[in-house]
C-alpha cells in the first residue's frame, strides 16, 4: 500500500511539468523541490539528531552567494558547484564547531546568532556581497549538453538532485550512522558510555545537513539567478524549520510534504493577501498547539485514532510530542 502511494507520488512528481499546466506552476514545482531538499537537510539535524537549528538559511545563503561569486568570475559550472559546496561545508564545519559548544537551547541561540552573522555579511559587507542590492548571475549550467534554461528542463534536473537527496536520506536513516545519530538524540549519555563519540556524530550529522542545505542554495541561485540578504534572514531559517516541523520531523516524507505546504501557502497567501508573515506565524502557533508532532505523523495518528474509535477496545499509543524529545 505504502509502496504504491510512494510510486504514484514519484510518478506524478517526475511528470509534473507535463500536467501542472503553465510555466508559473512548473516554476512553483521547482521551488517546492528546492525547498524540499533544504528541508530534508535540516531534518537530519532537527529530526534525527534532535538539534534545532535556526541558522541554516545561513548555509543555504553561503552556497548561493559563493556560487554567484564564482559564476561572475567566469568559472565553469563544475568549478562553481564544487567550489560553492566546498565553501558551504567549511561554513557548516565552523557553524557545527561553535553551535555544538551549546547544549539544547544554547545550541538554538548560537545558530540564530551565526545565521545573523551571515545576514550581517550579506547586508553590510558590500564589497563581497553587494549589500542590499544582492548579486545577479546569468546562465544556468548545461549538464551533459542539456540546457536548463527552460522551466521544464530545470525542473527535471532539480528532480534528479531531489531523488539523490531522498535516496541519501533513506540510506542515512537505515545506516548504522543514522542509528547512532538517533542514539545521540535519545540517549546521549548512554551513547557516550557505550563508547560512541557523541560530539563527532553530531558534527558529522551537521556536515551532512549542511551539505544538502548547500545543494539547495546552489540550485536556488541557478533557479532564481539572483541572491540577496533576504535569503539568509531569520525568517528564511524559520520558514525552513516550519517545513520540517509541519511535515513531521524525523520522518523521511514529512519535510517534503512540509516544503510543499509552505511553498504553496506562501505563493497563494502572497497572491491574495499581503500578510504572509502573519500566516507563517499563525501556522507555527497552530501546529504547536494542535499537532505538535507534525502534519504527516499527526494525520496518521488522528486517522488511526479515528479507525480505532470505530473498533471496540483498541487503545492506540500516542507518540511522544515535540519531535526532539530528550
Amino acid at each position: 500500500m505504502k509502496r504504491v502511494v510512494v510510486a504514484a507520488a514519484l510518478a506524478s512528481l517526475a511528470t509534473a511539468p507535463l500536467w501542472v499546466g503553465g510555466t508559473y506552476y512548473v516554476n512553483i514545482a521547482s521551488q517546492i523541490l528546492i525547498a524540499a531538499i533544504f528541508a530534508l537537510g535540516i531534518n537530519v539535524l532537527v529530526g534525527y539528531a534532535g538539534l534545532v537549528t535556526l541558522g541554516h538559511a545561513g548555509l543555504f545563503g553561503i552556497a548561493a552567494y559563493a556560487g554567484a561569486r564564482l559564476m561572475n568570475h567566469g568559472h565553469g559550472h563544475v568549478v562553481v558547484a564544487a567550489g560553492a559546496l566546498a565553501v558551504t561545508l567549511v561554513g557548516a564545519a565552523v557553524f557545527a564547531a561553535l553551535a555544538l559548544r551549546g547544549e539544547g537551547l544554547g545550541f538554538v541561540m548560537i545558530t540564530v546568532a551565526l545565521g545573523q552573522i551571515v545576514w550581517g555579511v550579506a547586508y553590510r559587507w558590500i564589497s563581497i556581497t553587494n549589500g542590499d542590492n544582492g548579486i545577479s548571475v546569468s546562465g544556468r549550467p548545461s549538464p551533459l549538453g542539456l540546457s536548463l534554461a527552460s522551466p521544464a528542463n530545470f525542473y527535471w534536473a532539480t528532480f534528479v538532485v531531489f531523488l539523490a537527496a531522498v535516496a541519501s536520506m533513506a540510506i542515512f536513516v537505515a545506516s548504522p550512522f543514522g542509528a547512532s545519530v538517533r542514539g545521540t538524540r535519545d540517549q546521549p549519555r548512554r551513547m557516550n558510555a557505550l563508547g560512541y563519540h557523541v560530539w563527532m556524530i553530531r558534527f558529522l550529522a551537521f556536515l551532512f545537513s549542511g551539505f544538502w542545505s548547500g545543494v539547495a542554495g546552489l540550485l536556488y541561485i541557478y533557479y532564481n539567478q539572483f541572491v540577496g540578504p533576504q535569503v539568509v534572514a531569520l525568517t528564511a531559517s524559520a520558514e525552513a524549520l516550519l517545513m520540517v516541523i509541519s511535515g513531521g520531523a524525523a520522518t523521511l516524507l514529512g519535510p517534503i510534504a512540509g516544503a510543499m505546504l509552505v511553498v504553496i501557502v506562501k505563493n497563494v497567501a502572497s497572491a491574495y493577501i499581503e500578510r504572509w508573515n502573519f500566516v507563517l506565524g499563525a501556522i507555527f502557533v497552530a501546529i504547536v498547539v494542535f499537532m505538535p508532532e507534525g502534519l504527516v505523523p499527526g494525520t496518521v495518528r488522528r486517522w488511526r485514532g479515528a479507525m480505532a474509535a470505530l473498533r471496540p477496545r483498541a487503545a492506540p499509543a500516542a507518540p511522544a510530542p515535540g519531535g526532539g524529545g530528550r
Binding site: V46, L105, V121, A233, L234, A238, R275, F278, G281
Partner: protein
C-alpha cells in the same frame, strides 16, 4: 580617531549598552528560570516603542507613556505565558516555534497598525539639552539612559539578592524541582518573571525610541543583540547581562566607526571567543 569622537562614541556605547541591559536582563531571567528561549523578546521591545508613540500622540507625557506602555507589554507577555507557553513546559522545540511564530504575528500586526514608516519618539523636554563633560557636549538624554540602566540594574540586583521574592526566583533558577518541594509556587514565579522581563523590554523600547526610532524590523535587529548578550554574559546572570550589554554596546559603536562594513559581524566576535573558551558565558554557571 580624535579624543572628542572617542568620547562621543563612548557615550553612545553606554547608551546602547543601557538599552541592551534592560532588554537582555529580562531575556536572561526568563531563559535562566523557565528555560524558555523567548524569541518574542525583540517584539516586546518594538511593541513598547509603538504603543508609547501612540500614547504620546494622544497627549500622555513621555515617562507615563513609558511606564504604561511597559505595563501593556507586560500584560501581553503574561497572557502569552499563561495561555500558551505554560502548556509547553519542557518542549523546547515547541517553545522556539511558538515564540518565533508570535514574533512574526506581532511584527505583521505592528506593520498594519503603525505602517512601515519609522516613528520617532520625541526626547522628553527636560533632557533635550546637552551636558558638558570634560569640555565636550553630550546629549543629556543619552547619559540619562545609561543612568536609568544602572539604576535598574541596582534595583534588580536588590530584588533578586535582598528580598524573599528574589530568593525564591534564584531557587527556581537553580533547581526548580527542589524549589517546588520546599513549597515555592514556581509556576506563579514563571508568570511574574515573564511579565517583569516583558515590562523591561517594553520600557527599553520606549526609552530607546528617541534614539533608535521605532520601525519594522527593529524586533529582529534587537533580538540577536539580546542573544549575544546572554550568550556572552551567561544565562540567568544579572551581572553577566550588565557586563555583556556594555561590551556589545561598545563593540557596536566603535565597530561601526572603525569598520563600517563589518560592524554587525564584529559584534559577534566576543560571543564566538566566549563560546570556545567558556561556553557557559562569562558569569554563567556550568550546566548541571
Amino acid at each position: 580617531m580624535d579624543m572628542s569622537l572617542t568620547l562621543v562614541l563612548a557615550v553612545n556605547s553606554l547608551t546602547l549598552g543601557g538599552l541592551l541591559f534592560l532588554l537582555s536582563a529580562g531575556f536572561s531571567l526568563i531563559f535562566g528560570l523557565m528555560k524558555i528561549p523567548n524569541l518574542t523578546h525583540g517584539s516586546f521591545f518594538m511593541l513598547g516603542g509603538y504603543v508609547a508613540a501612540s500614547l504620546i500622540g494622544w497627549g500622555v507625557d513621555f515617562w507615563s507613556a513609558a511606564l504604561l506602555s511597559g505595563l501593556l507589554v507586560a500584560a501581553f507577555g503574561g497572557i502569552v505565558e499563561r495561555l500558551i507557553l505554560r502548556r509547553l513546559a519542557g518542549a523546547e522545540l515547541a517553545q522556539v516555534l511558538v515564540t518565533l511564530g508570535l514574533s512574526f504575528m506581532v511584527a505583521d500586526v505592528c506593520l498594519t497598525v503603525w505602517t512601515g514608516d519609522p516613528i520617532r519618539i520625541d526626547t522628553p523636554s527636560a533632557l533635550r539639552g546637552a551636558t558638558s563633560v570634560l569640555g565636550v557636549a553630550f546629549p543629556a538624554y543619552r547619559l540619562a539612559i545609561s543612568v536609568i540602566a544602572v539604576l535598574f540594574a541596582a534595583a534588580l540586583w536588590a530584588l533578586l539578592d535582598q528580598t524573599r521574592l528574589g530568593a525564591m526566583i534564584r531557587a527556581g533558577v537553580d533547581d526548580p524541582a527542589m524549589a517546588r518541594v520546599v513549597g515555592i509556587r514556581v509556576s506563579r514565579l514563571f508568570t511574574l518573571v515573564f511579565c517583569l522581563g516583558a515590562w523591561l523590554a517594553g520600557f527599553a523600547g520606549v526609552i530607546g525610541g528617541p534614539i533608535l526610532s521605532v520601525y519594522p524590523g527593529l524586533d529582529q535587529e534587537m533580538l540577536p543583540l539580546a542573544l549575544v548578550v546572554v550568550i556572552l554574559g551567561g544565562s540567568g546572570s544579572l551581572l553577566g547581562s550588565l557586563v555583556g550589554s556594555f561590551i556589545v554596546g561598545f563593540l557596536y559603536n566603535f565597530g561601526q566607526a572603525l569598520f563600517p562594513e563589518l560592524a554587525y559581524v564584529v559584534l559577534f566576535l566576543p560571543m564566538l571567543v566566549v563560546l570556545v573558551l567558556r561556553p557557559q558565558g562569562l558569569f554563567g554557571r556550568q550546566a548541571g
